[in-house]
Each structure stands twice: as C-alpha cells, then as structure tokens.
Symmetry: C4
Subunit: 199 residues, 4 copies
C-alpha cells in the first residue's frame, strides 16, 4: 500500500514523473521572454509592447500544455496498470510536450515576419499534431481491450474518450494542413522583420 509499490498505485510514479515534465515544460516557457534593451532614445513601455509576440506565445503555449496536462490527468484516472509499452509511449509523448517551448520561441520570433511566419506556424501546429498523435496512440494502447484499464470502467465512457481524442488529433492535423499550403516562396527576398529582442 505504499505510494511506490502497491498494486493499485501502479501508475503513481509514472504520473508523478509526467507531472514533473509538464510542470517544467510549462514554466520554462518564461525563459524565452527576454528583457528588452532600451537603446538610447526609446521608451521602455514601447519596447515592452513591441515584444507582444513573446507574451502571446507564452500565453498560448501555457494554455496548450495546461490543457494537455489536464487530459493526461483525466486519462490516467482510468488507466490503472502500466507496462513497458505504456512507459515507452508516455516517454515519447512527453518528448513532444517538452519540445513545445522551442516552436513557441520560433513562433514568437517570426510571427511578425511575412516571409517566415508560415514556416513558424507550421512547425508549431506540427508539434501539436504529433503530440496529439502520440496522445491518441497511448490511449488506444491502454484502453483497447481494457488492456490497462479497470474492467469496472463503463465501456461507453471509454468509447466517448477515444472518440474525443481521435477528433482532437484530426483537428490538429487539419489545422496543420490548413497552414501548410501557403508556400515559403521568397527565398531571396529581403528580410522585413523588425529587429526583435534576442538573447
């Protein structure tokens, strides 16, 4: 009946570890926001306003990771056992979650740049789509044939959750396809991006 060994808390340390990764990934988002440098004649307030894509990226990714965490949390209330494959799928899934700060910084840096915006948005959407795919795979594996789920769980609930995850995954992939068509044409074009604050 200890937290680390009992039968019924078989997924306990898996959840603790996952929560740690979620909490760190979500909190690390802040280190992508750099303190602006005022160069002589500018207003600090203006500089801070200019950095809006950083706050925007921070807020969006914080909500995204928070939502993914909440879903992970709900799912693992139903998953009562773990095995090697679940561990592996969960690690790959966490690898996607912990990756999110990178496309977030990319998005914040290039969202104002007509030439590169599409690439940045595509990388961001792509990361979320891949995350959703592994989320869905993990759920399929655990819930299929009640493999790692308690027999007492209502099959209708299971099916409803599966449907929801598949739908969410398709939505992310559609979003990705939607942003992809517009090609990055102007390879040789001049950069028009305003010199943004970089560390």
């Amino acid at each position: 009946m200890t937290a680390s060994g009992g039968q019924d808390s078989d997924t306990g340390r898996l959840e603790t570890f996952s929560d740690g990764v979620f909490a760190i990934a979500i909190t690390l988002l802040i280190i992508e926001i750099a303190v602006p440098h005022t160069e002589g004649t500018e207003s600090l307030f203006d500089e801070l306003v200019q950095a809006w894509p950083s706050y925007f990226g921070y807020a969006i990714s914080f909500l995204v990771i928070g939502t993914v965490w909440a879903n992970h949390h709900n799912r693992f209330r139903l998953i009562s056992r773990s095995d090697h494959i679940l561990l592996f799928l969960n690690i790959v899934f966490l690898m996607c979650v912990a990756f999110i700060p990178f496309p977030t910084a990319l998005l914040a840096d290039y969202i104002r740049d007509e030439q590169y915006r599409v690439t940045a948005v595509a990388v961001y959407s792509g990361t979320l789509a891949v995350t959703a795919v592994f989320f869905t795979l993990l759920w399929f594996y655990a819930a299929g044939n009640y493999r790692l789920v308690d027999r007492a769980v209502d099959p209708l609930l299971l099916r409803a959750m599966t449907r929801r995850y598949v739908f969410g995954m398709l939505l992310y992939i559609l979003a990705l396809i939607f942003v992809l068509p517009e090609p990055e044409v102007s390879r040789g074009a001049r950069r028009t991006r305003r010199g943004s604050v970089r560390r």
Copy 2:
C-alpha cells in the same frame, strides 16, 4: 484510495502539478543573476556589489512566490473537489505565477534607471495585481456556495479567508495605481543607466 484516484484526494494531482510550477518558477529566478565580467581594472567585489538589484529582485520575488505558494497550499486544504473550471482558473493563475521571473528581471535591470524605473515597477506590480485577481477569482469560484469545499468547513473561516484575499487583491491593485501616475515622459532623453551586466 490511491494518491491518484481516490475521492478524497481529488485535488491531489492538481496540487502536485501546482507545487511543481511554484517550485520551478521560484528556483528559475536565480538564472536571471549573471556572473559579472571583470574588465581589466575593476574589483570583482565591486562588480558584485554593483549587481545588487539582481539580488534584491531575487529575494523579493522569492518571498512573493513563497507567500503565494503558502496561500495556495492553505486554500487547497479546504478545497476538496475539482472540476474543469477550477482546473482552468488554476492554470491561468499559475500562468501569472510562472510569469513573475520576467518582471523580476525587468525590475533588476531598470531599478537604477530614473527614466525607466517607473515602467519596470508598474509591470512588476501589475503582474502581482493580476495574479491576486485570479487567486481571488479561483477562491470565489471554489468557496462560493460551498461549490468545491467540504460542507464541514466553518462558514466563518470561509468568509474570513475570502475577506483576506479580496483585501490582498485590493492592496496589490492600490500599489499598482500608486506607482502608475508618474508618467514616463522623457522619451528622447539620454539613457543614464550604468551599463549593467546582461547575459
């Protein structure tokens, strides 16, 4: 009765996740303090003393986040259930907490600078005020009509806590208003800030 599924520990993983974010946000404060570079003729000791705003910001924000954590901790001893709205309010609240390292770095960088100090202090106070607002909203939602609080909790205690949070929130907002009036006038003025150490 496991830590991750039982009825009476419904908020367990929410608290664990929140504690993770608090612990990371508070510890990340240190990475804003850069090792000074001694350029030829200066004393390392003098350089370290010159960097006092960094230590000041570190100490203030550490105490602020620590206090907010302690309050969160106390509140969740009374909140015994969670739902989607609580999860959402908690995520937005954590978004404010995890944001604190940024205005801290801003404050440390500009507190010695007459021209920009006001803006930096306003952003710092503003972040704390917004954090307090979401803290209060979260509490209102959970404690209102005993929505997520155990019926056994003394109504006088609940009302006392509510009063305390509202008061704290108002205090932060007042502090913000207090620092705001002094406008940042000298847009075109020369920078007088001593070249501080930046990474």
Copy 3:
C-alpha cells in the same frame, strides 16, 4: 503510514527527489535547441533543417534519460529501505544523469564536424558509461545480501536484474572503447564545421 515517515515508504522521498531530478534533466534538454537566425537571404525552413543535430541530440538523450528513469523506477520497487550509503550513491548517480544535457549539446554541436566528432561522441558515451557504472554500484550495494531489499523478493529475480545491469554497463563501456581508438589527430587542421547556431 504517512508518505514521509512510515517504515514501508522509507525510500519515498528519495524516489520523489530522484524523479524531480530526472524530470528536470530531461526537460532542460530543450533549452539547448536555439531558434535559428535567418540572415537575409536564407529560408527559415532550410535553417531549421540544418539544425537537425540538435533535434537528434534531444531525441536520443530524452530516450536515454527516460530509459534510465524507468530502470531506476523498477529497481526502487524492490528496494524497501535506505541508508546513508544508498543516499550517497544515488546522489552521485543523479549527478551523472543531470550532466547528460552537457554532452548532448556537445554532440549536437560537433557531430557534423569531422575533426571533433570523435571527441564529442567519446564524451557522450563516456558519460553514459559512468552513469551505468554508478547505477550498477547502487544496485550491487542495495541488493547484495538483501541489504536494502525485502527478504520476500525472489533471489532469481534479483540475480536476473543484477546480470542485466552488469550487462548494460559493459555494453556502454564497450561502446565507449569502440568510439575511442580513432584519435583526434589534426590539432592544427582547419575547422570545417559549418557555422552552427549557438546562443
């Protein structure tokens, strides 16, 4: 019977602390991937593709740390007591795990560089080999004579695990020896590495 004091959860806080270090080390890997700078005429997509060693290093080290975590997790399901020596061995072991982001960044930076690749790979393999050595030492100490393992554990299982760890350790050391022979000859040779993205 509390999580922090009971006889049977003697290793609880040790595991929580270790999980924290694992979760942070694995999530910190992302901060080694820098947002590329597009210098005028280049395509952001090309720049992102050029940075493949960073993603490669991230993925490899994420899987490595995840695997090490899973092994640590399995082992501590059998270890039911702790003492000063176990604490010390565990700290030194965690020191190796938390070090992994450094050789990962080294590998990502120099894998495309014929001259320095060998050194980078050797440092990376060496870190994993040393980690495996301490992992094995820790297990030897805990499992030898059932020192910190429950008497109820099947001796065949213990011996199988010991064999597995020793085998894993030898594999890492062999891998290290395999990459070492090729010497770093060209001390004075020109660098051929493509200017990679560095923070």
Copy 4:
C-alpha cells in the same frame, strides 16, 4: 488521511515543495557549463580539459546540495507539524539553497584567476555559511520545547541533531573566515585570467 490534508502529514506539501526546489536547484547547475568553442587551431579535447573548473564547481555544488537535501529530509522525519514561522524559515532557507548555482558559476569562472579567486571563494563559502545559519535556525525553532516535533522523539536524539547542526554551521563560518583574510589588493592590476568559456 489524504496526502494533502491529514493531521499526520501536515508537513507533506512543505516537503514536496522543498524537494522540488532542491531538485531544480541541483539540476540547474548543469546550465552553467557551456559547450566550448573551438577556434580554428585548437583541440576540442584540450578545450574540454581547460573547462575543468566548471565540472569541479558542478560536482562540488551537486554534492553540497545533495547533502543539504539529505539533512532536510532527515530533519523533517522528526518535524510532524508546521506553522507560519516554520513556513517562513523554510522559504528563506530554500532561498539560500536556490542561490547556490550563482556562487558556483562565480567560482568556476574565477578559480583560476589569482586576483579574483579569493572573492569568488568567499562568496561561495559565505552562501554556504548563511544557508547553514538558516538551517540551524529552522531546527532550533522546530525542535525547541518540542514545538513542532513529536513528543515521542527521544530528547537525546534531538540534542544530538542540534549539536550536529550547530557544529556544521560553525564549520562553514570558520571556513569563510579562513578564506576571507587574504584581501583583494590589486585593483588596478592586469587581469591574468585565461579567457574562459562564457555564454
């Protein structure tokens, strides 16, 4: 009897939070070690060897924080209740622990530099001394008159622990005094430090 509300696990969330700060502070040490840049004619292996103060600082501080964590862990096995003052003392104590990465980086940067070494060592020792002082204060407060310690705890054990902490604190302070006398004289002297690797 839940982890977050029961009488006997009153210090549970305090310990979890502290463990988080310990785990993050100890793991953040790695980000102070920068990947060396090979400038044309140098050997990567030589560059890595040159960076030994970074590895030295990492190892020392990892062991220091690990030891402090183990002591905190042992102490809180005896402390069974918490109050506002304990919370406050613990936050200030954690503030010292989370500060350690900064003097570590300072030490690694200046240990080879005759002129500045003393200052760096003094700041490092000073941080440890202050940490030990707050550690001792916290213990005095909790253990004095069995304020927050279970009545069942052997008074001889309590006194032994107190003696040990006071002794450790004095040792750190003595170490500090020992390194302090040598004054940092040569303000105007040329820097002799080898250009170390800085991010």
